[in-house]
């Protein structure tokens, strides 16, 4: 390989390598230019005073407030459903499972993690059909169903990150607790989990990010374009990602499009903040624990 080829290849690497950064910059700039001007309180609350909307005195019709509320509720509900099984599953795989169990369950979780989100949405939808057949009455696509499907979606991430965190504990720390007379459960809860809490929390936050951004699942299991304010778990609801998708294909006038850009910017910022939080948790905690 002569010098010239080498130079050429290096240059090519630089060009290719900086391309993703350039694309990210273009996306951010474009969103800021087109959506930045619409970013104010009216985007979220329309003309309703913010306090009234937050306390539920007045309905917001032309703002992002219902969609934001829907997404928040959805993420909280998903987390409530997935957190305990996810952590327990991770602990079980790392500490209790036999090698055979670990291999089979690991393969299963890998497959679930790789399933396209629309397939999971479809599974949720078929569940609603099944329930509808079993209990003839009103049980259609709703928030509870979406949360269940999303919980299923983020479960493998929680399990895997917990498992990886526990597996990375050095042997010396692992055997200290039992040597001092702690039972296995005490050792896990009081020594092993706290020592890796930053990785586990980081994993949870990233899972939250995934639940917040997913559109395909909620599209099939109950998100609609205009449901008004969130009312009950068994109702259809508005969500931010679905709103953006809806606007991109069905917008009727410039004002609506402007709101769509605003919504995209809000969602982008939200996911950026979640990522920053995960990063800070990882770095901050690790500094404290190393001291």
């Amino acid at each position: 390989m002569n010098r010239a080829t080498e130079r050429g290849l290096t240059l090519l690497c630089w060009l290719c390598g900086l391309l993703p950064l350039a694309i990210l910059c273009i996306v951010i700039c474009y969103l800021l230019v087109r959506g930045g001007s619409s970013l104010n309180l009216a985007l979220i609350f329309d003309r309703v005073p913010a306090m009234d909307a937050l306390l539920g005195h007045q309905q917001v019709f032309d703002g992002l407030f219902p969609a934001l509320c829907g997404t928040t509720m959805l993420v909280l509900l998903t987390l409530a459903l997935a957190l305990i099984p996810g952590l327990c599953g991770g602990i079980y795989l790392a500490e209790y499972a036999s090698p055979l169990e670990r291999r089979i369950l690991g393969l299963l979780f890998d497959i679930i993690a790789g399933l396209p989100s629309i397939v999971i949405g479809l599974a949720g939808f078929s569940l609603s059909i099944l329930l509808h057949r079993l209990f003839p009455g009103r049980f259609g696509p709703c928030m509870l169903l979406s949360a269940m499907a999303l919980a299923f979606l983020i479960l493998p991430y929680l399990v895997r990150s917990t498992q990886a965190a526990l597996n990375s504990i050095p042997q010396s720390l692992r055997i200290t607790g039992p040597a001092l007379g702690a039972s296995k459960l005490q050792n896990i809860l009081l020594v092993l989990l706290p020592s890796r809490i930053q990785d586990i929390i980081g994993g949870i936050i990233l899972a939250i990010g995934r639940a917040a951004e997913d559109t395909a699942v909620i599209m099939l299991t109950g998100a609609v374009a205009s449901a008004g304010m969130f009312r009950s778990l068994l109702d259809q609801y508005e969500a931010l990602p679905f709103y953006i998708y809806y606007i991109s294909s069905q917008y009727t006038d410039a004002e609506e499009l402007q709101r769509g850009f605003g919504a995209a910017l809000v969602l982008f910022t939200l996911c950026g903040l979640i990522f920053l939080l995960a990063l800070l948790v990882e770095q901050g905690f690790s500094r404290r624990w190393k001291r």
Partner: protein, 282 residues
Amino acid sequence: MAMGSGLLLIAILCMMAVLGWPLVENGRFFALFSTTWSPHAQAYGILPMILGSLRITVLALLFSLPMSIGTACLAELLAPRPLRRLLLVTIRFMAGVPTVVYGFVAVFLLVPLMREYLIFGSGFSILTASLVLAVLIAPTMIIFFVNGLQSVPRSYCHAVDSLGARPMQKLIYLLLPQAYPSLLIGVILGLGRAMGDTLISLMLAGNSVALPESVAESGRTLTAHIALVIAADFSSMEFTTIFACGLILSLFTVCLIVSIRLLDRFGTRGAQHREMSTESRP
């Protein structure tokens, strides 16, 4: 805890059964693989969607591969140190950017450009979708590539360095050949993400059901088909085809994951070296 895990497993299997049931009930599985989709003529072939999915996926992979390898090499070897860290953090951030935001920006930025300069149609085409998809799957691949390059045994690197190799020579003759199992795993994962993505192809590929003749035409993917049919109506045969799509996508995923497992098994010979080298590291 063991019971919780067991229950989970059962729940998962139930979900799978529910997913596949209407198709078994129907029993007309193989009639689905014809090339025409026209509900009025009772023809429900999903072959155009399968081909659409494959085309978009392969194209996205072709666009994404050079970009990913370039970035990975840059982040691991060629760039100055502060830039490496910045690059890695940015890439991890890009993995978390909502798909729908990419789609939204592309609809209003890339589609008009395509319409003006490249394909002169509506601008919604397989090519447009695969370009955006390439950006979407790049972070997944880059993260795996970087991991693969990092896990090349330290002792080999020192040996090559002490022989006076330049960075590019080290990359071509040592790192890339040594790391190729994990490079392959990264590509497979990227393939899975590209195949499974719904929003990009739904928003950008145009969704026509005809068999596309070139990449500049509009096409429909399996994932987009599921979303569109559910949005359209709940009735009869048309509706059951989406379960066939779901099944194909699931089977595809299972194949990918199993192949990754097998690759990993082959890679374990390298892992022994790796352990030895980590011990000798200061």
